[in-house]
């Protein structure tokens, strides 16, 4: 099966899809009986700890491990010299346009960010591992560094890597931007800044590794079991000798898409031949884990007097930190989505990832496509003000529709229900609130977005799934999918149940094992419902089609005239039915296999980085958020009074989980908009404690009201669209829009703290004095 053969069925036909049953993993979660990566112990298990650089840029002039090795209870102290192949090569865009820069597993002679691993130890207890790590004596000579994108690009700037500080620069151009801007009736412009952000999953990075039958086995909290190949490369092992098992994660949000504990656990297990556990301290995770890219976004937008957008010029700079990680792809997504859900005929976009001596930035829910929402939505609101149009009216004049061309020359081949999401989100808010007292201003904001789901198209993505109807009529699913907690595995069970009629309680799903499960690709890019959902859907349909003639024969009916439901197969015209167990037995007797492996392939395409034309993403999820805020003009405090979100998810496989994704994404977005700032000063992470990093708590923000549009036109199973990442994208723009509505000045820097809002109020007062000096 390929992406071209999209099949949808009328909604009324569904029994399981569209309902919200609680799957077994959620039962285990509320019982407290789920075993996460850290909840694993083996006899003789050692405890690993990483020795990290305290400096952001330095030369290593010596490492002395003698004292650490001599400490009783220490089993291994390893440095770069002990790593068989000390390089991680990440070509995130497949080498299409980025520099090739390797990252060492353990730094040998140079450290490029604070927290970079230099050595790794294993000892009998966590306390001993901690003490041993303290005893590793590393001599450093400090080197000059660069800590923001502007100085990193200045002439003569210190080089983070010898090849230069510009990792990649994407270009997308169409039409004649200069001409269109010159001819536009109005032109607005703005520069928008976003910050470093921490994923702050509640479960820190963790895992346990051991040797079993000569196979290095790691059970870790990861989004990507396919890292097994990289781990094999680092250790110089055949890929068949490394197995990665993904535990159900305590959250990931992209932060467990790159390797975290894996190579260090692997080295320690390989050297000690003993089981090893490694759990990163929260404080270690804050300093050294990957972050969201801070962006500088410069926008210029031209429009006709009637509000039709004619041109947009966008320059994006992203701080990649010290190593490439997934930055090339993040900045690509930013470029591909920089114009949002709007039709813009003349476009010029550059999107550049820049090396600095900050902690590496990489995948984080939204992945570049979320930062730019603040850019394009700010431009839309500014245009509306300049043209005297309402914000909704201006948007409706410019929304993309099915059949439109994107700036990359791609034609949109699914419906765009963004207008509907806008009206529904606003309807959820109801009447605008009045200020609660003197010195308070209220405002309403909206933010629309277009967010991709699925990998960039030139990766020719694929996912496999294996289904087996057991002799007793129960069903097994095997899939390499990893589960972040969003119900990735549960959704696959619902899809299989829908097609094969096995009751959900009779289905067991085995996931996240690189040795035993057919590969599904990682859980990222909002791709698993799209990819593995389609794989399971097609595997189930193919298995049903293979068994249907047997059932038809037993029932005296036509194979096309069968209903698989409630653990039975019925002829739609008759009263008779057989159980799935009877069907399995009949198939067995006729030597017809009741197990089936299916591989689903996404549509393929190519992108030309020189022309900036070609295929980017398979499809998009559209949505709108709306909010009412109150601003305290004395303190600058912004209180979110009401918050509403609406997205077109195509088809809600499990509506409660869809709501949960939207509510959770919106809440993370509120933190990004208003409170969260992983401040890094001259390469030094400032929030060394979790208490200093302010993720939303129960009291910070109101409930997130949700409405769901089901257009049925997604490219996922049964017309579904992905919803994992999209709902974080709209929030900052929505809050900025509401603040602008309240105080008349547009925030352009995140997070929108009371100090910054006060500065905007001062700016407004200043402007008022200049206009009216009396």
């Amino acid at each position: 099966m390929t992406a071209g053969e999209q099949l949808t069925e009328p909604r009324s036909a569904y029994r399981v899809v569209g309902t919200s049953p609680a799957h077994h993993d959620f039962v285990d979660k509320v019982k407290g009986s789920l075993h996460y990566a850290a909840d694993w112990q083996l006899p003789g298990m050692l405890h690993g700890r990483i020795v990290r650089s305290p400096l952001p840029s330095a030369r290593i002039t010596g490492i002395d491990v003698t004292a650490a090795r001599a400490l009783p209870g220490v089993a291994a102290v390893l440095t770069a010299a002990d790593v068989p192949s000390n390089q991680i090569v990440e070509l995130a865009s497949g080498g299409l346009a980025e520099l090739q820069v390797t990252m060492p597993v353990l730094a040998a002679d140079r450290v490029r960010y604070m927290g970079e691993p230099v050595a790794v130890v294993a000892a009998a207890t966590p306390q001993l591992a901690h003490e041993a790590a303290e005893l590793v004596a590393v001599d450093y000579t400090e080197l000059p560094g660069v800590f923001d994108v502007t100085s990193a690009r200045a002439e003569g700037a210190p080089r983070v890597h010898d090849v230069g500080n510009t990792l990649v620069s994407w270009q997308i151009h169409c039409g004649d931007v200069a001409g269109a801007l010159a001819a536009a009736d109005v032109v607005v412009e703005g520069e928008y800044h976003s910050q470093h952000v921490e994923h702050a999953y509640l479960e820190p990075e963790a895992g346990v590794g051991w040797l079993e039958n000569g196979v290095l086995t790691l059970r870790v909290s990861t989004q990507v079991i396919e890292h097994a190949a990289m781990i094999a490369h680092i250790l110089g092992l055949p890929q068949s000798k490394v197995r990665v098992i993904a535990a159900y994660m305590g959250g990931g949000f992209g932060g467990k898409e790159d390797m975290t504990v894996e190579p260090y656990l692997a080295l320690l297990v390989w050297h000690t031949r003993r089981p090893v556990r490694m759990i990163w301290d929260r404080q270690e995770s804050l300093v050294a884990s990957t972050k969201r890219h801070p962006f500088v976004m410069r926008y210029r937008t031209g429009a006709d007097r009637d509000g039709t957008i004619t041109a947009q010029q966008v320059e994006i700079l992203g701080d990649a930190g010290a190593y490439p990680n997934l930055s090339p792809r993040v900045l690509f997504a930013a470029a591909a989505c920089a114009c949002g859900p709007y039709r813009v005929p003349n476009v010029s976009i550059t999107s550049t990832a820049v090396f600095t001596n900050n902690v590496p930035a990489s995948a984080f829910r939204g992945f570049g496509a979320m930062q730019v929402v603040l850019g394009y939505e700010s431009q839309l609101d500014e245009l509306a003000i300049r043209l005297g149009l309402s914000r909704t009216e201006l948007r409706e004049r410019n929304f993309l529709v099915k059949g439109d061309l994107l700036p990359t020359g791609e034609r949109l081949d699914t419906c765009v229900e963004v207008a509907q999401t806008m009206h529904r989100a606003l309807a959820l808010l109801g009447e605008p609130p009045r200020p609660s007292g003197p010195g308070k201003l209220t405002g309403r904001g909206i933010g629309c977005n277009r967010h991709p789901y699925g990998r960039t198209i030139w990766f020719r993505d694929r996912a496999s799934a294996w289904l087996s109807l057991q002799a007793d009529g129960t069903l097994l699913i095997r899939s390499g999918v990893t589960d972040l907690g969003a119900g990735q595995a549960a959704s696959l069970c619902q899809i299989a149940a829908e097609v094969l009629g096995a009751p959900l309680d009779d289905i067991s799903i085995y996931i996240g094992d690189s040795a035993l499960n057919p590969p599904a690709g990682g859980t990222f890019a909002t791709r698993q419902l799209y990819m593995s959902g389609n794989a399971v859907l097609h595997a189930a349909r193919e298995l049903r089609d293979r068994m249907a003639p047997v059932a038809a024969d037993l029932l005296g009916a036509s194979p096309d005239d069968l209903e698989f439901a409630d653990g039975r197969v019925r002829a739609e015209t008759g009263e008779v039915s057989i159980t799935l167990a009877e069907l399995a037995a009949a198939c067995d007797k006729r030597a017809i296999s009741t197990a089936h492996l299916s591989t689903w392939r996404a549509e393929a395409g190519s992108f030309d980085p020189r022309t900036g034309q070609g295929d980017t993403f398979p499809d998009y999820t559209y949505g709108t958020h709306a909010a009412d805020v109150e601003v305290d003009v004395e303190t600058g405090q912004v209180t979110v009074l009401r918050y509403a979100a609406c997205h077109d998810v195509g088809r809600a496989i499990n509506p409660m989980r869809v709501q949960g994704q939207i509510q959770g994404g919106a809440m993370q977005g509120l933190g990004y908009a208003l409170t969260e700032d992983m401040a890094i000063e001259d390469g030094y992470v400032q929030a060394a404690l979790f208490a200093n990093y302010l993720i939303p708590n129960t009291q910070d923000f109101p409930d997130v009201l949700v409405d769901i549009v089901e257009s049925g036109e997604g490219k996922g199973p049964l017309g579904a669209r992905g919803i994992g990442e999209p709902p974080i994208g709209n929030v900052a723009a929505t809050i900025a829009s509401a603040i602008q509505d309240a105080i008349g000045v547009r925030p352009d820097r995140l997070p929108m703290t009371p100090e910054r809002v006060l500065a905007l109020l001062d700016e407004r007062a200043e402007a008022a004095r200049e206009e009216d000096p009396t």
Binding site: S20, A22, D25, F26, V27, D28, K29, V30, K31, G32, S33, L34, H35, Y36, A38, D39, Q41, H199, A200, Y201, L202, E203, P204, Y248, M249, G250, G251, F253, I279, D281, R282, Q283, L484, G485, A486, G487, M656, R657, Q659, G660, Q663, G664, G665, A666, M667, Q668, L689, F690, A691, I695, P696, N697, T698, Q699, D703, V704
Partner: protein
């Protein structure tokens, strides 16, 4: 550091454990007694994932020394369940309302909420927000957690 033996009452049973004075209650429950429902999240008392009830009151396992708990009764989430793994009604509400995503914060969240409802009867939604402020969740956005606790509070007040 020298170890000494203490008796910890955990989920209705006494356990004799050897501990050092610096061992946290979290470490002893998770690593010594194998209670996977008590989890390390931050070690600072900020996130609430290691919440347990100490003589019925919620405490952070990471900020409580095991010696402080000696001779006292500790209840973890698993301790709420009845025979045959029958779920507590509050757990049922969490399940029905979809109040758990990754599930990592769930035990602490349920224990803190249970204490609140038992102390106050039918707390308002704002009171629930106030009580749960020290239990962080990064997945759900809290709305469904608050719904679940309210549903349980309604049930508890009605019975």
């Amino acid at each position: 550091m020298s170890k000494r033996q203490v008796v910890l009452g955990v989920n209705g049973r006494d356990h004799e454990v050897w501990i050092t004075p610096s061992d946290t209650l979290l470490d002893v429950l998770h690593d010594e007694l194998g209670l996977a429902d008590v989890r390390y999240g931050c070690g600072e008392g900020v996130c609430g994932t290691c919440t347990v009830l100490l003589d019925g009151e919620p405490v952070n396992g990471c900020l409580t020394l095991a010696v402080q708990a000696a001779g006292h009764q500790v209840t973890t989430l698993r301790g709420l369940m009845g025979l045959g793994e029958a779920m507590h009604p509050l757990q049922e509400c969490f399940l029905r309302r979809g109040a758990s995503q990754c599930g990592f914060c769930t035990p602490g969240m349920i224990l803190t909420a249970l204490d609140l409802v038992h102390r106050t009867g039918r707390p308002t939604r704002e009171e629930i927000r106030y009580a749960l402020v020290g239990n962080l969740c990064r997945c759900t956005g809290y709305t469904k957690i608050l719904d679940a606790v309210e549903e349980y509070a309604d049930q508890a007040a009605g019975s």
